[in-house]
Chain length 246, copies 2
C-alpha cells in the first residue's frame, strides 16, 4: 500500500486500493450478412443477471489479458469464430450499467460472412442466434445502446473504408456488392452509377470466373485487392462510396 500510494497522489484522500475495484469487459457486435439481410449475433444468457435475456457476446477481461486479445477470445469461446475482422468502436462506463458491480465495457464490432457459419451455443449461453437488425429483441444490460451505436458506427465506416468486403465471400459479383451496401445503408442505388463508381477506384480485381447455375447472363466475379488499397492509401486516396440514394 505504501509502495502503491506513491503512484497516485490524487486530491481526494481515497485509499489507493479503492481505485482497483473495477471490472472490465468486452462486448462484441458481430455483424453477418446473407442475401440482402444484415444480421447480428446474439446469445441467450444462461446466468444471472438477465438470465434468459438476449445479449451481445461478451465477457470479463482477465487481469493478465490484453483488451484486444480478450475481444478475440470472447468471439472464439462464445461463437467459435476465429480470425475475424474486429475493431473497437466505443466504451461504456456508467456507474449502474451492471447490477453486480462496477464494470466498464469496451465495445468491438466484427464482420463475418455468415453464409456458411452456423453458430452453436457454448459455456454460459443457452443459445446463440442471428437476428435481422431490423427486428431486434430487447437486450440485457445497456446492450441495446451498445448495439445501436455499433450499427451507426458500421454505417458510417462502411462508406469511408473498404470494410464491407469482410461481409462477402472472397469472390463476389458487383450486384452482390451493391445489395450489401443497400442493406447496410438502407438505401437504393442506380446500378450503372454504382458500378462506375466502384470500378473507377480500381480496388477490385476482376477474375476470369463467372457465376454458375443462374438462369440469366452470369455475372463476372471480383475480388477485393487489399494490396492495391494499401498502395492507393499511401498516395492519399480516400475510399468513399457516397452515392445518391434512389
Amino acid at each position: 500500500m505504501d509502495k502503491q500510494n506513491k503512484y497516485f497522489l490524487s486530491e481526494n484522500n481515497v485509499p489507493f486500493q479503492e481505485f482497483f475495484k473495477f471490472g472490465l469487459s468486452v462486448d462484441c457486435v458481430v455483424f453477418g450478412y446473407h442475401k440482402g439481410q444484415v444480421s447480428v449475433l446474439l446469445v441467450e444468457r444462461d446466468a444471472e443477471p438477465f438470465k434468459g435475456s438476449w445479449a451481445l457476446p461478451g465477457d470479463l477481461v482477465n487481469l493478465d489479458e490484453d483488451m484486444d486479445e480478450a475481444a478475440g477470445s470472447v468471439l472464439r469461446k462464445l461463437t467459435g469464430l476465429e480470425n475475424i475482422f474486429m475493431e473497437q468502436f466505443y466504451s461504456f462506463g456508467s456507474v449502474q450499467r451492471h447490477p453486480a458491480g462496477r464494470v466498464a465495457t469496451v465495445a468491438y464490432y466484427s464482420l463475418v460472412n455468415s453464409d456458411e457459419y452456423k453458430p452453436k451455443a457454448s459455456a454460459w449461453t443457452k443459445s446463440i442466434q442471428w437476428f435481422d437488425i431490423r427486428s431486434l429483441p430487447k437486450l440485457a444490460f445497456d446492450h441495446d445502446q451498445i448495439l445501436d451505436k455499433g450499427i451507426r458506427t458500421l454505417q458510417r465506416r462502411v462508406r469511408y473504408r473498404p470494410v464491407g468486403f469482410e461481409l462477402l465471400p472472397t469472390k463476389f459479383t458487383l450486384s452482390e456488392l451493391q445489395e450489401l451496401y443497400e442493406a447496410l445503408l438502407n438505401a437504393k442505388f442506380d446500378k450503372p452509377n454504382f458500378r462506375k463508381k466502384i470500378l473507377s477506384m480500381e480496388l477490385l480485381r476482376p477474375l476470369e470466373e463467372v457465376q454458375e447455375n443462374v438462369s440469366h447472363r452470369p455475372a463476372k466475379l471480383f475480388q477485393f485487392d487489399e494490396n492495391r488499397y494499401q498502395e492507393l492509401r499511401k498516395e492519399g486516396f480516400a475510399f468513399d462510396i457516397t452515392l445518391k440514394t434512389n
Copy 2:
C-alpha cells in the same frame, strides 16, 4: 461471494473477485488553437511513476463516478477548464501499460479556444503547458500513442463535423476559419473556393460587425449557427469540407 458467483459463470474457474481488480482512468487530449498553431495541453507529473515526465491530463475514475463525468472532472481539476467540448475517441487496455497495476484508460479529446485560457498547475502536477503538436516531448505511459490517435481522430472528424468552431472565438472571420483548417489538416486551400464552400452550407451567420484596428480592409465577422446545423442535419445534410489542397 456466493451471491456474486451466480452473476459470472465463466468457463475458467477464476474466483469472481479476481475480475474486479482493474483500475479505470480517463485521459484527455486537450486541443487548443491560437494564430495558426494547434497545440495540446500537457502536464508535468509530480508523482511516480514517470515523475517529471510530460503526460496527458488524466486520472483514475472513482467507483461512484460515471466515466463521462470523470472526464469532465479531470479537465476541471487539472486545468481549470469547464464546459468544454469533449468527446470520447478510443480506449487502451494492454496489460503492461501502467507500471502500478492493471489500468485501462478511456481517451477523450476536447477543444478549447486557447486565446484567453492561461493554464495553471494544480494538485499532483508540477506544471502545465501548451505544446505545438508539431514538436511534442516524449510522454509518460503509452500517452504518445494515445495522443497520436487523438490527433488523427480530430483530423478526420473535423472534416465531417462542424467541431472545428470550438477552437475559435465565437466571432471569427472566414480567413481565421480557413487558417484553422489549414493548421489542423496541415494543408493549404484556395481562398475563393474555401469561402464559397463554407458559405454555401449556410451554417455561418454573418454579423454586422467587422474587424477593428487592422491595416487593411476589415473582415466581416461570422458566427457558427448551431440551430441551423441541427435543422439541416434532420434533413439529411452532411457537413463536409473536403477541398483540394494546394
